[in-house]
Symmetry: C2
Subunit: 384 residues, 2 copies
């Protein structure tokens, strides 16, 4: 195990009916900007529960934060925060709304010029408006971490930043929000959470049995509970297990003291930037290619994944790896997510554009920083 | 899964050499009371590392905090904190030193009379001196939780309190401290951590696969890595895995959203109070008795434990339970901890005294609050 530091102060409030505790977790006298997305919260009852809970607070609303939240949209909220002297941001939505709210929190207090630098230059975040979150969709893990991913539409750029200052003070996770989710969002959430675990697990062994078993426990739970939620959206227990899996997948715990990859995400982000493909779907496309092309470097962990999650216990190393890749891609397909570029009408010309971008950036990715434009080409060609 | 709240803001600093970061995690200008135990920190180099790191701070030392820390000892430290205007407590030791330091922290700021009430009446803790910890022994999990157990020698009482205000601001976990531990302390730590997990796991199913698999992951790791540490105290990787298991065993995570038992601890505390038996050893005595006497209530989880941790996959329910109890007690014995009262020269008269105490207290214990003096008698008689 590597040396590490781990600290995650987010207060998790989990379970049915808990949205009613929103207000009492916000500082008395706070002036709130309530951020949300496309408006599903008005249909599923979440908005009404939140509003009832924050009665007595001064609340301004800012809706329309899109999936892969746009810098351009968020900067409008930043203006409101400044003009209205907002002191608390309440994110009511999924990971995109929360990621966007994290950027609003940091950008509104950014004192050194254009806040775009927080993303483009990883300029340090020295202050942020406090955030609370009511989660409406299990997927990104943003509710219990310091990360945010933002898209700048005009540049077709999708970039991330991290700061402990944008971790929510509290996140309310009521699994009942899953009851009204469309199938596509549930599928995306399952795959997104699955690949979050994989990015922190499928690297090389460093003798870290706690981290490995926790990771495998989340993966196994996602493979068992995810399909149950798809089959019956009103199954509260399975919804709860999916939601908790999704949070545990990316709160820093399983990634502490172990190597991490994130190449699937970085390549996937480009597919979203160029084609607007849902984030989770890009991961489902890229991951099998990474497993195939990087199979030597990842051999021990792919075999361990096959054995402990998919029950593959015999065959040569190569056979086991092939079957593990097949089971993993098959799982994504089984929850309704195509894993080939062709299914999204994406062809070879996009591969050229993505490789160009990585060539310009000049750095390599993956747990050994050895995936460059050449490897990315092979990975994506494997997924045509 | 039950509804739950989870928040654990402790900053974990994990790995070899990390004790050198002690000073830079303490507020500038703090006046420190450095608390420690019997003096092993002077022999294993930890004291020197800590002192080098806190150079420049004003530091007063308070040693002699005993295992099962005594109220009487701790109150002497409380006087020093008040008289010297101490603003930060630095616990350098194992779980007893840290539990004691937590009580010092709360008692020194207790404004409503005798601080004994914090323990005897669970009087609310409204303020506490900030704490940092350098851990020298993996066992209690105190480094990442809000709990403290204190003994009042004159009453032969061992009582607990909890408050988020006494959670350490940081805990430094350098697995190298294990290199010089005597065998007995390693054995105790393995069993203590194991039973912490069991108290949060071996109850009844509530459909909580994440919590179950995390718990099983810790148990399995303890059974694999514990013996390696006993066999070779200089095996850094195994020491690190044991240390991380021990912290994860009792930081609130695996117990969130599930029923908890704690009867083994509550009965075990009486054995320590009357006979001074090491805490972990009392747990090793009591747990097999709880598993046997409460086998109906715990049936599903005992069978799951047997299957997933001990590999017991066939036989009738009763056979599987018997084998699981045998494997569990056998594991404790295999790491050098006797599991029978007779091995500690404790006989039937102690059982009477313990049952008397529970009769006087008038409440029942266990995950269904159905273990009273009658059941406790059966449990302990099973362990003679």
């Amino acid at each position: 195990m590597y040396n590490f530091e781990f600290q995650n102060p987010v207060k998790i409030i989990f379970g049915k009916g808990e949205i009613s505790k929103t207000g009492k977790n916000i500082p008395v006298g706070a002036k709130i900007l309530l951020t949300y997305g496309g408006g599903s919260i008005f249909k599923n009852g979440v908005y009404d529960q939140v509003k009832a809970s924050v009665e007595g607070f001064e609340v301004i609303e800012f809706g329309g934060i899109e999936p892969n939240p746009h810098y351009e949209t968020l900067m409008k909220a930043v203006e409101i925060v400044k003009k209205e002297n907002i002191t608390f941001l309440l994110s009511v939505g999924g990971g995109s709304v929360l990621d966007g709210t994290k950027f609003i929190a940091a950008a509104a207090r950014y004192a050194k010029g254009d806040p775009w630098r927080i993303l483009s230059m990883r300029a340090p975040v020295l202050d942020a408006v406090p955030i609370g979150a009511v989660l409406t969709l299990p997927a990104t893990g943003s509710e219990m971490n310091a990360s945010s991913v933002i898209t700048r539409a005009e540049y077709q750029e999708k970039l991330a930043f991290m700061s402990p200052l944008v971790m929510p003070f509290f996140s309310i996770l009521d699994p009942e929000v899953i009851f009204s989710l469309p199938e596509k969002q549930v599928s995306n959430g399952i795959v997104d959470s699955f690949v979050h675990v994989i990015e922190q697990y499928l690297t090389f062994p460093v003798n870290s049995p706690i981290q490995d078993r926790f990771a495998e426990g989340i993966l196994k739970t996602l493979t068992e509970e995810g399909p149950k939620v798809l089959a019956n959206r009103l199954d509260y227990d399975s919804a709860a297990n999916l939601m908790w899996s999704s949070t545990m997948a990316l709160n820093g715990l399983i990634g502490s003291g172990v190597p991490q990859d994130w190449a699937t995400h970085m390549i996937g982000h480009e597919l979203t930037a160029f084609h607007g493909i849902d984030h989770a779907r890009t991961l489902a496309i890229v991951l099998p290619g990474i497993m195939h092309i990087m199979r030597e470097q990842k051999q021990a962990k792919i075999i361990q994944l096959g054995e402990r999650v998919w029950g593959i216990t015999d065959g040569s190393a190569n056979e086991r790896i092939n079957r593990t890749i097949k089971m993993t891609a098959g799982f994504f397909e089984s929850v309704g997510i195509p894993t080939r570029l062709s299914a999204y009408q994406v062809g070879a010309e996009t591969i050229d554009r993505i490789c160009d971008r990585f060539t310009k950036r000049g750095y390599k990715i993956g747990e050994k920083a050895n995936i460059g434009p050449g490897e990315i080409r092979l990975i994506l060609e494997d997924r045509l």
